[in-house]
C-alpha cells in the first residue's frame, strides 16, 4: 500500500533531482505513515545522547562528566535515603504529569500545571490557616477537596478563554502561572507569614492532624498512594469508559470527532478541570506531606518538568510512573552534585536536552530509508 502511495512522488523527486544536481542520491528518507511512535528504545537512546551533549558542557567546566553522572545516580538511587527522596520528588511529578497527559490527549496544551500546583497548595494551606483546630479525619479530607477545587478552578480559568474566546491556552496557562506565583509570594510574605518564624517567608508549621502520614522514618508520605491511584484511574478511564473513548477519538482526529457529534468544547472544559485538579492535589500532597508548611518557592518547577515527564511517557500510564521516578531522581541527583561545586541547574539542562532528543528520536523512528532506483 505504501509502495503505491509513494510511487508518483518518487518519480517527481528524481526528476527534480536530475535537473538540479549531478549526483544521484542512492537513498532517500521518507516518513512511514504507519510508523506509529517508533521503537521502544528511542527514549533510552535519547537519554544517552542528552547525557552526552550535557557532558560536553560539564567537561567545559573542568569536571569529568562521568564522575558527575555517577554522583547523580548514586545520590538519587544509590542509598535508601536517596531512593525515598527520589520517590518523594516523583509524587508531584506523577500527579502533575497525569494532569497534563489528560489534556495533551486532546491536544490541549496545558503548561499551567505549575500555577495549578500552587493554587492547590494555597487552598490546602488556607484550610489549616482558617480552621486550625480540626481533627485529622476532617482536616485532611477538607484539604484534599480544597486543593482539588482550587486546582480545577485554575485549570478552568485557562479552558474558558480557550473555548469561548478562542484564546491560545498556552499563553493563558502560562500567564496564570505567574499570577499564582505572585499570589503565593503575597500570602507567605504577608498575611499568612508565621509571626514566630524569624521573618521566614512561610506559614506556621502544620500540626500532626494537618499532615499526611509518612512511611516509617522516611519522608515518603501518603501522596504516593494518591499518585498511584491516580495513574490506575487514568488507565481505567482512558481505556474502559465512554469519556475516555471520546477523548481518544478527539486525540486521533478532532475533525472526525466533531463530525461524529462529540462536543469538543465541553471536553476541553472537563479535561482542564481534571488536569488542574490533579496538579492541585500534587500541591496539597507536597505541603501536607513534605514541607508541612506553605513557603516561598514551594515548587522547584514541578509543573514544567511534568510536561517532559508526560512526553517521555508518551502519555502512557505505566510510562508515567517510570518517567516520574527517573525525573525525581534527576532532581535529587541535581542536588547531590552541589556538594562537588556544580549548580543544581545541571538537572534542568539535562531535562531540556532529553526532551530535544526524545522528540527528534520519536520522529526519526517514523522515517525509513528507501533505496531509490
Amino acid at each position: 500500500m505504501n509502495e503505491r502511495h509513494t510511487a508518483p512522488s518518487l518519480q517527481l523527486e528524481q526528476g527534480r533531482g536530475a535537473r538540479r544536481s549531478r549526483f544521484r542520491r542512492p537513498y532517500r528518507i521518507e516518513i512511514d505513515p504507519a510508523g506509529g511512535q517508533g521503537p521502544w528504545w528511542v527514549p533510552v537512546v535519547s537519554i544517552v545522547l542528552a547525557l552526552a551533549v550535557c557532558g560536553i558542557f560539564i567537561a567545559w567546566n573542568g569536571m569529568n562528566p562521568l564522575t558527575v553522572y555517577a554522583k547523580m545516580v548514586k545520590g538519587a538511587f544509590g542509598t535508601s535515603f536517596g531512593f525515598t527522596e527520589t520517590l518523594v520528588k516523583a509524587i508531584p511529578l506523577m500527579l502533575c504529569g497525569l494532569g497534563v497527559s489528560i489534556a495533551y490527549r486532546i491536544s490541549v496544551w496545558n503548561i499551567g500545571a505549575e500555577g495549578q500546583f500552587i493554587a492547590g497548595a494555597m487552598a490546602a494551606t488556607a484550610v489549616t490557616v482558617y480552621y486550625p483546630e480540626l481533627p485529622m479525619v476532617l482536616s485532611i479530607p477538607f484539604m484534599l477537596l480544597a486543593s482539588l477545587a482550587a486546582g480545577g478552578l485554575w485549570g478552568l480559568l485557562t479552558a474558558i478563554p480557550r473555548t469561548y474566546f478562542g484564546v491560545n491556552e498556552l499563553i493563558t496557562s502560562l500567564m496564570l502561572n505567574y499570577v499564582a506565583l505572585l499570589a503565593l509570594n503575597y500570602v507567605v510574605f504577608g498575611p499568612w507569614k508565621d509571626p514566630k518564624g524569624f521573618n521566614f517567608p512561610g506559614t506556621p508549621m502544620f500540626t500532626e492532624a494537618q499532615s499526611l502520614p509518612v512511611l516509617g522514618a522516611t519522608r515518603l508520605h501518603m501522596g504516593l498512594v494518591f499518585a498511584l491511584a491516580g495513574v490506575l484511574l487514568y488507565w481505567l478511564v482512558i481505556r474502559y469508559t465512554r469519556w475516555g473513548y471520546e477523548l481518544r477519538l478527539i486525540g486521533a482526529n478532532a475533525e472526525a470527532a466533531r463530525n461524529a457529534g462529540i462536543p469538543i468544547s465541553r471536553h476541553i472544559l472537563a479535561v482542564m478541570l481534571v488536569s488542574g485538579a490533579l496538579a492541585g492535589l500534587a500541591g496539597m500532597s507536597e505541603v501536607a506531606g513534605v514541607t508541612h508548611r506553605l513557603m516561598y518557592g514551594i515548587s522547584p518547577g514541578y509543573g514544567y518538568t511534568a510536561v517532559i515527564v508526560a512526553w517521555l511517557a508518551k502519555l502512557n500510564p505505566a510510562g508515567l510512573v517510570i518517567s516520574s521516578v527517573l525525573f525525581g531522581g534527576l532532581i535529587v541527583g541535581g542536588y547531590s552534585v552541589q556538594t562537588i561545586g556544580l549548580p543544581s541547574s545541571v538537572s534542568s539542562m539535562l531535562q531540556g536536552a532529553i526532551l530535544f532528543f526524545f522528540i527528534a528520536g520519536a520522529m526519526a523512528g517514523k522515517f525509513r530509508l528507501r533505496r531509490s532506483r
Binding site: 521518507e30 505572585l182 539542562m349 526532551l355
Partner: protein
C-alpha cells in the same frame, strides 16, 4: 513627561525587548510556532554577559550572541522543519534547555558587574523639540536599532517579493512549493534569523537594563513576547505599539505604588499578566468568526506529496 520611552522601564516592551516579538513574528509568518523565546532570551543574555566580561568587547559579545542563537535556531529548525517534530514541544524544550544551560553557564559570572555600557546616542537636534525631545532625544543604540528593525521587517513582509513568498509559505506551503518557492529553505532562514533577533533581545535586557546576570532574569518576558505576537496579529508595527502599551502598564503599577495607595506590590505585578489574558479574550470575542491574522499553516509540518 509621564511616559517617556526611557521611563517605561518595562523590559519586555522596551529597547530591543520587542525585538523578541519581531523575531517571533518572522518565524511564525513562515508557519513555524516559536515558544522558546524565554529560553532563547536567557541564552542571549548569558552569552553576552560571559563574552563581555571575558573580552571586554561589546562587538564580540553581540557576535557571540548571534552565533549561539543561530545554533539554537538550527536545532529548532532541524526538529520542526526536517524532522517535522511537534513544534510546541520543541519550543518548550528550548525554553527548558535554555533556562537550565544559562543558569549553569552563568553561575561563575552571576552578580558580576559588566565592564562597560551600551553607548547612548544623545541627539541634540532632537532634544530641543518639545514632546519628541524627551522621548527620543537620548536613547541607547539598541533602541534605535529596534525601531529600524520594525520598519525593515514591515517592509520586508509586506513590500518585497521575498515577503510575499514568506507569507505564501506560512499560509499554504503546498501551493508555495508548486510555485517553486523553496519552502524548507525559507523556513530555515526565518527560524535562524528570527532566533538571532530573540537572542539579541536577551542581550539587550542584560546589557542595557540589568547591570548583572542573575539566574532566570527574564522573569517571563520571553513569554510576554510570545503573547505580543498574538496581540499584534503577526504584524511588526502593531507589535511595537503593543509592546509600549505593555511598558506603560508595567510603569502604571510602579506609579500607583509611588502615590502611596496601599496595594501590595504583588498585585500590581500581576497587572501585565492579567491584562494580557483580558486583552486576548477581548480580541477573541471581537473577531469571532473572522481570521485571527495567524498564518494558516502555523504549526503544521509540511511534507511534500505525503500525508501523515
Amino acid at each position: 513627561m509621564g511616559l517617556g520611552a526611557h521611563d517605561t522601564n518595562y523590559r519586555g516592551g522596551d529597547g530591543l525587548g520587542h525585538t523578541a516579538a519581531l523575531g517571533g513574528i518572522l518565524i511564525e509568518r513562515s508557519g513555524i510556532t516559536q515558544l522558546g523565546a524565554e529560553g532563547l532570551m536567557l541564552m542571549g543574555a548569558v552569552t553576552s554577559c560571559i563574552v563581555f566580561i571575558q573580552t571586554g568587547s561589546l562587538t564580540l559579545a553581540l557576535l557571540a550572541v548571534l552565533a549561539v542563537s543561530a545554533v539554537l535556531g538550527l536545532v529548532h529548525g532541524v526538529l520542526c522543519v526536517t524532522l517535522r517534530a511537534n513544534q510546541v514541544v520543541s519550543g518548550l524544550a528550548m525554553t527548558l534547555f535554555g533556562t537550565g544551560l544559562s543558569a549553569y553557564l552563568g553561575k561563575p559570572v552571576s552578580g558580576q558587574p559588566l565592564p562597560g555600557a551600551v553607548p547612548k546616542l544623545d541627539l541634540p537636534s532632537l532634544q530641543g523639540i518639545p514632546v519628541i525631545g524627551p522621548l527620543f532625544g537620548h536613547l541607547d543604540l539598541f533602541t534605535y536599532l529596534s525601531f529600524a528593525l520594525v520598519l525593515a521587517l514591515h517592509l520586508f513582509i509586506h513590500r518585497t517579493s521575498w515577503g510575499l513568498s514568506l507569507r505564501a509559505v506560512g499560509d499554504n506551503p503546498a501551493t508555495a512549493d508548486v510555485m517553486g518557492i523553496p519552502v524548507l529553505g525559507l523556513r530555515y532562514a526565518c527560524i535562524v534569523i528570527g532566533t538571532m533577533m530573540i537572542g539579541l533581545a536577551g542581550a539587550d535586557l542584560l546589557l542595557v537594563y540589568t547591570p548583572a546576570w542573575n539566574e532566570g532574569m527574564t522573569a517571563g518576558r520571553g513569554w510576554i513576547a510570545v503573547a505580543l505576537i498574538i496581540f499584534a496579529r503577526w504584524n511588526p508595527v502593531r507589535a511595537l505599539v503593543c509592546a509600549y502599551f505593555f511598558g506603560a502598564l508595567d510603569t502604571l503599577g510602579l506609579r500607583i505604588q509611588l502615590t502611596g495607595i496601599e496595594i501590595p506590590s504583588y498585585f500590581l505585578k500581576m497587572i501585565p499578566y492579567l491584562v494580557t489574558v483580558a486583552v486576548l479574550m477581548f480580541l477573541g470575542w471581537r473577531s469571532r468568526g473572522k481570521p485571527s491574522g495567524a498564518p494558516e499553516a502555523l504549526g503544521l509540518p509540511y511534507i511534500r506529496e505525503q500525508r501523515f
